[in-house]
Symmetry: C2
Subunit: 330 residues, 2 copies
């Protein structure tokens, strides 16, 4: 198995990504092709010990940045690490692709270069959402801001398969993110999607009140990309605001500072429970090959986890299973 | 000035609502008509001291519950406190209406009985959203789950007026809730609403990243009712989950329990900063008369605040100003 990793686009530079690749080949039985500036990659690799032959390099001269227009960048920057990596994937030089780069460009590139599975109407970006009980898989989180009910139906099926095969949840419960639990609640999109979801053979839980999402009542949360992105971003924003308000409160007096000091391990463990890094990357579901988006701020640990996730994605033949299920749906 | 208050529908029973009415007339110069079961209201009122003549009673024999279908209940339960209160308002026996009851029924009743201002396409439910810096007014939070761009434009204008006149914000900044800050971001609805908002004479801030909403970057947040409800409910859910996770962590060891004890005043102040009660009720904007929805779990303090808010709503002639601005818009 060979996984192609884009060394360009991380907030922490290629160093962390390359270290993550070395850690991955040292830990699991895979080969990695790192795409990027060859001299830089060679220089970084020379610092580490790993089995020769497990990592090779695909040289690319150009870069797609977060400021680039996604569709334009994919069309024009033929020599960028992302386009070259996706092309290598599409042409069979690798079994999966991991990138920390421009999310929009990765989506556009996935659609134009790797292409959708036959029968899939839209590819969705999924993420692991940390909850009090563990985590839920949520999709779509931003690839499709305007959706039809049929897209949500396909997202539900793909999410259910990914949750079972890659995240290891047995018979995952799939819920529709909504503003009430009763059937008939919500806007036209979710009401129509509800009717479609009832007819699938996934374990459809029904509507999930958005209020209950952080508690972790279902394994897979389905929503359109606008709402999914709202949920994700608000969760981050709330966590940031609550942490800083807490900090403000705790530094108000000498006594409270002592109290906070005594609670240091608990406060750290509290923060860790809402840490995305443990959970690896966000899979793009609906493409012909596994593509995983790692967070821009990923360190080597997060990169290694994203690569492991891509490996399971490949191992479990998720794409073949999606193909079959989508045919049944039609 | 006479404010009509519905004594039915609160989670805590009519007792808290009636006490809130007494506190209100004792604190500010208004009259109140309490609608509900006359014997119960008389019994409760007999416990308190207040200027006779400042409170009268409108007897109603029926109740709308949270389980009732909103539109059906309004049509059929003619003798319910809510329908009788709204009718009294529409017929001029009062200047404003406050209810803790079924939100959907209050909306339906507002539309059917009080009716929309000429030129207003949809009435919106607005709420005060607690932020780190204070609060923002957010609308729509659930009255209209499927919106057109023109509705959002009107929500923005009404929200700006309410924020200035009732909440006392001078030249309020109005933002459009979105998944990115740049113009052109988001789904079709928000992209088209953006273009309309640029042309109004409100202080349009542009897009507000949902992630930044809890920090409090704008005074008014505009969104469709589905997204607004998602934001509101997820905020509540995140607060609940984070508080209980924190509690779990703090009770892990003897030392951490002591630490938490030392932080008790700070933890309380932290919780209070996210307390909706301070902020009174949620106004229904776009109707011909002031209608305010108080939270179902309101205690007498929250009821008193909702009544004071209705008073300012009336005092400042918000409805007249909305009428004028909507005519300019057209």
């Amino acid at each position: 198995m060979n996984i192609i990793v884009d060394s360009i686009g991380g907030d922490k530079g290629p160093e962390e990504i390359i270290k993550g690749c070395v850690d991955a080949v040292n830990e699991v039985d895979i080969n990695i092709t790192i795409v990027g500036r060859e001299d830089k990659i060679k220089e970084e690799l020379s610092r580490y010990t790993f089995s020769k032959g497990s990592i090779d390099i695909l040289n690319s001269e150009d870069e797609i940045t977060n400021e680039d227009d996604p569709a334009l960048a994919i069309r024009r920057k033929k020599n960028s690490s992302m386009v070259m990596g996706l092309k290598a994937l599409a042409e069979g030089y690798g079994d999966g692709f991991v990138s920390t780069g421009n999310t929009g460009a990765l989506l556009a590139g996935g659609l134009f270069i790797v292409k959708r599975i036959r029968g899939i109407e839209r590819a969705a970006l999924a993420t692991v959402y940390p909850t009090r009980k563990g985590f839920s898989l949520m999709l779509d989180i931003g690839a499709n801001v305007d959706c039809k009910p049929e897209y949500l139906e396909q997202f539900a099926v793909m999410g259910s398969i990914y949750s079972e095969k890659v995240l290891g949840t047995s018979s995952p419960k799939v819920g529709l993110a909504n503003i009430g639990v009763e059937e008939g609640k919500g806007n036209i999109l979710v009401r129509e999607a509800y009717d479609l979801l009832k007819e699938t053979n996934i374990d459809f839980y029904g509507n999930v009140e958005v209020r209950d999402i952080p508690e972790g009542v279902v394994d897979v949360i389905v929503c359109d990309g606008f709402v999914g992105n709202v949920i994700l971003k608000l969760t981050e924003g709330m966590a940031i605001t609550l942490f800083s308000t807490l900090k403000e409160e705790f530094s108000k007096s000498f006594k409270s500072k002592i109290g906070a000091l005594m609670l240091k391990p608990q406060l750290k463990s509290f923060k860790d429970r809402f840490d995305y890094r443990e959970y690896g990357g966000a899979p793009l579901l609906g493409l012909k090959k596994p593509v995983v988006k790692a967070h821009g701020s990923s360190d080597s640990f997060a990169i290694k986890n994203a690569i492991r996730q891509a490996k399971t994605f490949i191992d479990k033949d998720v794409i073949k299973i999606i193909e079959n299920e989508i045919n049944i749906l039609e």
